[in-house]
Symmetry: C2
Subunit: 152 residues, 2 copies
């Protein structure tokens, strides 16, 4: 095994910036959602993805893939949301094993009320700190990073 290629100064700064920003942004948004909407970030993300899906429903496994969480974690969170009436489960007609998570009217309403504050927090923490060129790099560069990791 050869000597590893260590990170040079720029690479190190990029990595540390990415790491710190990831952690702090996540922490901040988690806090904001809990305070203002009574939702955890995973729960909010579930509602968002369901609201964006045709029919307001997505299969459990598909949803777990998009949320980048384990299947058991999703089962738990959907259970929490179901207890609060924001989501319900529906059996899949074509596959008896399958389950759809379905957004309820109340879930849609909770999301509608939570969204403005959340978007404002995302702007304040991340988006409005960057200029258009920097946003374009995040979209392209990190988009590619995400796509690659999806495939492997």
């Amino acid at each position: 095994m050869s000597e590893p290629r260590w990170l040079d100064e720029l690479e190190m700064a990029a990595w540390q910036g990415f790491l710190e920003a990831s952690n702090r942004v996540a922490r901040r948004l988690e806090q904001q959602l809990k305070d203002e909407a009574g939702l955890s970030h995973p729960q909010y993300e579930i509602l968002v993805h369901l609201a964006a899906a045709p029919g307001g429903e997505i299969r459990m496994t598909e949803l777990a893939d998009r949320l980048i969480t384990s299947k058991s974690g999703l089962t738990y969170q959907v259970g929490q949301l179901e207890r609060r009436g924001l989501v319900r489960r529906r059996a899949c007609p074509t596959d008896v094993r399958g389950v759809f998570a379905v957004l309820t009217g109340e879930g849609r309403e909770v999301l509608r009320r939570a969204a403005p504050g959340h978007v404002a927090a995302v702007r304040e923490a991340l988006i409005d700190v960057l200029d258009r060129d920097q946003l374009a790099v995040l979209a392209e560069g990190l988009g590619e990073v995400g796509r690659r990791l999806r495939r492997t």
Copy 2:
């Protein structure tokens, strides 16, 4: 309250890219460290920060701030590392309440062995996917994002 400023297409792409990349990179590195070095990412980070500090030791609260974790979370992880002999605690001479986390020789050795594989994984997942200009944006832009959230 006025209509919130929603995210336009570019902003949305940047936000989603950031979110997905954060999650997938974190997940990948967690996996890599667990498999190849038997460490969680928080644990690895603790060792890294200690190794970089003069004397290989840092006060608990200072360390918690840098790691962006709660103090109780740090107490737990340092306890885990102490059980494995990679870190020990030392009372602070000038403040009886204070505690230093100190890297042991064995801790340094474990880190030395873990680092090459980890750096390679960081390169593969993130750094080598981006060109120099993109890295510069991460370093500057996300660096600023992190600094702002630190202050508030």
